[in-house]
């Protein structure tokens, strides 16, 4: 049975073992990528409980479909795509995803949080709060889940141009938020 064997090896090897029914090998994959998937779902906009539920569902689905993982990409990217699809499915089912070019931004929350400790470094999770829901979703899908603009457009059922504009605006906001204070000062000095 190999019950005491500690699973080792590359993700692709572990996935192959999992496809053959080795749940310990899959458990190692869960251990390696669990936090990444949970983090991605939070960054997409899920609350903590929903993110963890969906992350569990993603790994369950991943186990069912692990035979389809051939190692063309990384296992992390593969499982993140599954998780992102599940999140979008949940959001659509709950009719919370309303896309338009005038999505109300969450600036107030971000500004309040940022001002509470202005000197501290604003990390990615904090910076994402400054994005509108659409911008956050598109940026997180494209940069966090490795989706192409086309894949995001298809999954979100919106034109690819809208995805690109959400990403563009999201990147602009993130760049401003993530810029180091000295960098910002240097830019200002140069006019």
């Amino acid at each position: 049975m190999g019950m005491e064997r500690p699973p080792t090896g590359h993700d692709v090897e572990l996935a192959a073992q999992a496809a053959a029914g080795d749940r310990l090998a899959y458990g190692e994959l869960v251990r390696r990528h669990g936090s990444t998937v949970r983090g991605l779902l939070r960054r997409l906009g899920a609350d903590a409980a929903t993110a963890d539920d969906l992350a569990q569902d993603a790994f369950m689905t991943g186990f069912e479909q692990v035979a389809e993982f051939r190692g063309e990409g990384t296992f992390g990217a593969w499982i993140k795509k599954i998780a992102a699809r599940l999140y979008l499915k949940r959001v659509k089912r709950e009719a919370r995803l309303i896309f338009s070019d005038t999505i109300e931004p969450l600036e107030e929350i971000s500004a309040r949080d940022a001002s509470s400790d202005a000197a501290s470094r604003i990390d990615l999770d904090e910076a994402l709060k400054s994005l509108s829901r659409g911008e956050r979703l598109c940026v997180s899908l494209c940069y966090g889940a490795d989706w192409s603009h086309g894949e995001a457009a298809e999954a979100l059922n919106i034109p690819i141009g809208t995805v690109k504009s959400h990403v563009k605006r999201g990147l602009d906001k993130l760049r401003a938020k993530l810029a180091r204070p000295d960098e910002g000062a240097r830019r200002e000095a140069h006019g």
């Binding site: 749940r23 899959y26 458990g27 869960v30 251990r31 990528h33 669990g34 936090s35 990444t36 949970r38 983090g39 991605l40 939070r42 960054r43 963890d52 992350a55 569990q56 790994f59 369950m60 186990f63 069912e64 990390d123 990615l124 999770d125 940026v139 997180s140 940069y143 966090g144 990147l171 993130l174 760049r175 993530l178 810029a179 960098e183």
Partner: protein
Amino acid sequence: MAEPDFEAQLTRMFAQAPSFPDAALFNAEVMAKLDRGWAMRRMFIAVAGTGAGLIGAFQIFGSRFSNELAQLSREGSHGLETEINGGWARLTALLSTPSSAEAVWLAAGLAVVALAFAVTRLVEDF
């Protein structure tokens, strides 16, 4: 900061997994779910196998019973024999013809498989 540099930096930041204090608990919950799903599936396969076995047993029993009843009917009165034989003839004609019997039991088998598939999907969705 140039756009490609920033995009690369952003990709790296997204790739950095946040640290969760309950990571071990999360892993354990996933594995428990996997074990539960696996156990339910095995149980369902066992139930489906038992059902298929019962169907097979009923088929054998029904076949023998029909033969015995036909034998009895032959030994009975002519009128009764005629009636029973007439009815049985129609029933056994359906089941005793190789192609018909095969079709009936193939359909039953497919129904069991379809039911198994449906329940499996339901279990997965649940």
